[in-house]
Symmetry: C2
């Protein structure tokens, strides 16, 4: 199943741990605070519990969006990258 994870986490260390957990689950970064990838429903639930544990009582918001094949095909993107 396709999954998008987006997060707002105040503490730098906690935010990095959230990003690392997403990477560990095979997701890839699509924006500074957004990861995307494919996960089974089980692994998705595991990741949810892990992210909950990582955030703990710290201030933050983490959202997980499972997406079907049809929806994923309709994603639109605007990107400008400047090479310095």
């Amino acid at each position: 199943m396709h999954l998008l994870v987006i997060y707002d986490v105040q503490d730098d260390k906690v935010r990095n741990r959230v990003a690392n957990a997403c990477k560990d689950y095979g997701l890839y970064r699509v924006q500074y605070s957004a990861f995307k990838g494919e996960l089974s429903l089980n692994r998705m639930q595991e990741l949810f519990l892990l992210l909950k544990k990582i955030l703990g009582v710290d201030v933050g918001n983490i959202q997980m969006y499972p997406m079907c094949e049809k929806d994923i095909k309709q994603v639109k993107e605007i990107e400008n990258v400047h090479f310095l």
Copy 2:
């Protein structure tokens, strides 16, 4: 149709303009750089073109995720808000 818009935009002014455009289209903020809401396909396409125009040649990445009813029901969220 449900829509999630996420963005990474370098310039503060441009980022604010992106946020304001999302608000103008009736979306509401769900994270610092994420808006959600309901839009018709036409309005979604209009918003896409507007965001493209706003970003112009500035550095940034904007992603629009249309989501079906089934997917939107599966969204999971972890939130800790501290009242100071």
